[in-house]
């Protein structure tokens, strides 16, 4: 193997007659940042949902470290080492969960407590929990949210909530992390901050599959980019290859003039 960690082959998905994905194939090598771009409705989020088990594909295969994970349940896939953030933030506010509680949910697969463990193995569980709490604090400082631990999750700005999601996804030390439009809804300053975080993840050797509408960001951070349009892969390669690809310019950006303005 050439260090391929994630391999998507011929994935097809229909939603009641709408072909969301049509035989999409690509692979992600270890330590790589792979960008996944395409116009609205191209099937990017659907693809991420299929990789982490929220949606089941009609056909095609997902191989993670050469293991077939197609159709496995999301909780099992998460435990194998695939982390993710969501396009529409999915933070947990029920029961008054705080910022650090939300990050700690990311450590669930590490703690993985059985329901009676808090009664019969309380000491051991709380000891592990304390370690995780420390790690969660470190990750919160890593994403720039030091001191926010005890705040109710709803009291954070949208941009900060996205960063909480990122910290949460990193809690279980995933081997690959799927980022679904992490920059959407962020202002320029926040995008800059996010970029720094992703670059430092890249330097740490983390593998990232990022779906993003902010082309500038994707082009700056990615090693390779895959372009989808109406569920089909229309281009794949280095950012500079993709930018000059004719199909991409026509199908994705509409016209060359518009692209020049960006």
């Amino acid at each position: 193997m050439d260090g391929t960690i994630l391999k998507v082959t011929g994935v097809t998905k229909n939603f009641k007659g709408l072909r969301a994905l049509d035989g999409v194939s690509f692979s992600v090598r270890k330590g790589m940042i792979k960008g996944l771009i395409g116009p609205n409705g191209a099937g990017k989020t659907t693809l991420l949902n299929i990789v982490n088990g929220i949606t089941k594909p009609d056909s095609g295969k997902i191989l993670f470290k050469e293991k077939d994970i197609t159709g496995l349940r999301a909780d099992n896939i998460s435990r194998l080492g695939i982390g993710r953030t969501f396009q529409i933030v999915r933070l947990f506010s029920a029961g008054g969960l705080s910022v650090i509680d939300n990050v700690l949910i990311g450590a669930h697969s590490v703690l993985n407590p059985r329901i009676l463990d808090p009664i019969f193995f309380r000491k051991r569980l709380l000891k592990k929990e304390a370690e995780m709490r420390e790690k969660a604090s470190l990750l919160l400082s890593f994403v720039g949210l030091k001191g926010m631990e005890g705040r109710p999750i709803n009291s954070l700005s949208f941009g900060s909530q996205r960063l909480v999601e990122l910290a949460r996804a990193l809690m279980s030390d995933p081997e690959i992390i799927l980022l679904d439009e992490p920059a959407s809804g962020l202002n320029d300053f926040e995008v800059g901050h996010l970029k720094e975080i992703i670059i430092s993840l890249r330097e740490k050797g983390m593998t990232v599959l990022i779906v993003e509408h902010n082309i500038k960001l994707v082009m700056e951070i990615s090693h390779e980019v895959v372009v989808l349009n109406f569920g089909k892969k229309i281009a794949e390669g280095t950012p500079s290859d993709v930018i000059s690809d004719k199909n991409v310019l026509e199908a994705y950006l509409g016209s060359k003039e518009k692209w020049m303005k960006v």
Binding site: I54, D75, S78, R90, F92, A94, L104, G106, L116
Partner: protein, 316 residues
């Protein structure tokens, strides 16, 4: 400030209240302890409902089902098969656990209104079975002469003694429930409550936790049923109708959902309220209803939330 913290410790307040309550109304002590025993039984039931609804977000309109199963298993095994009350109680809890595990998976796959309908239907099924299986359950006329509770031959026939035992068990249930919710498991339950798909994406096996908590709360309900049956000595299907399930919901919201302490206050409040409003004679139900409506409208966080706010304001 430490003294204030000790004085507002819920465990301390509860233990002291439990200790002195029977002596406050010394003149009609046996009756008062009886009411207070019901308070304990309903507290156990409502705490279970809180774990299921308040923490895990799974609606139940049939929480009296396993209350009935516990009571009937105790009654049948002691009156017909001569089993000891302790053995009968344990059998009821084991049976309830197994039954909840078996029905938990399919039932809890349903959500919201559908889950509400399914639990309500289960309650009706249990009642129909009790009425239908007359040979075993005594049908609509119920079972009488259930022996008082005893542990290894030591009888708890004396009301005051039984009162302390039942509340001791209730406090134990509170301790266990709080241990579960104040832990990573409690956090996972809150995550399931908030967003099941999201929870799954972080490795939380929702089915396992939902089924697990369902088993626990139904074992609690069965325990409450046995404690109830051995105290009152006579049970009939009427005690376990959907109406009982609904009043458990009222207790839960009245006390404060998702707090564990709320159910204690809610259950005691609703059980003691009629003892006070009965002075209004013909207007009893009206006054009862007015008080409930007032609490639900003006104290949306329930009695516990309101009390907590008041003590916090006093501190700050």
């Amino acid at each position: 400030m430490n003294i204030r913290r000790i004085l507002t410790n819920p465990y301390l307040i509860l233990c002291l209240s439990v200790l002195i309550a029977p002596f406050v109304f010394a003149d009609k002590s046996a009756y008062v302890t009886g009411v207070l025993i019901f308070c304990a039984v309903y507290t156990i039931l409502t705490i279970g409902l809180d774990l299921l609804m308040g923490y895990t977000g799974q609606i139940s309109v049939g929480h009296a089902s396993f209350f009935a199963i516990g009571a009937y298993v105790s009654a049948i095994l002691t009156t017909r098969y001569g089993l000891s009350p302790l053995g009968a109680m344990a059998s009821g809890m084991v049976l309830s656990g197994i039954l909840s595990w078996a029905i938990g998976r399919p039932v809890l796959a349903l959500k919201e209104y559908y889950l509400a309908m399914a639990t309500l239907a289960f309650n009706e099924i249990v009642i129909s079975l009790i009425i239908g299986l007359e040979g075993l359950t005594g049908g609509a006329s119920g079972i009488r002469d259930i022996p008082p509770f005893a542990i290894f031959g030591v009888s708890f026939k004396h009301h005051l003694l039984y009162y302390y035992l039942v509340w001791l068990i209730t406090i134990f249930v509170i301790v266990l429930s709080r241990a579960i919710v104040n832990s990573p498991v409690g956090r996972a339950l809150s995550a399931i409550h908030g967003d099941e798909i999201g929870a799954r994406a972080f490795g939380i096996d929702c089915t396992k936790y939902k089924t697990g908590i369902f088993v626990i709360v139904n074992v609690f309900a069965s325990l409450a049923g046995s404690l109830y049956a051995h105290f009152i000595g006579f049970i009939a299907p009427d005690d376990f109708q959907v109406g009982t399930s609904v009043s458990l919901l009222v207790m839960l919201y009245l006390g404060g959902i998702g707090t564990i302490w709320g159910p204690v206050i809610g259950a005691c409040f609703l059980k003691i309220l009629p003892e006070i409003t009965y002075h209004f004679k013909d207007y009893e139900l009206l006054v009862n209803g007015l008080i409930l409506v007032f609490v639900l409208i003006f104290l949306p966080e329930g009695l516990y939330g309101t009390l907590k706010k008041i003590t916090k304001r006093a501190e700050g």
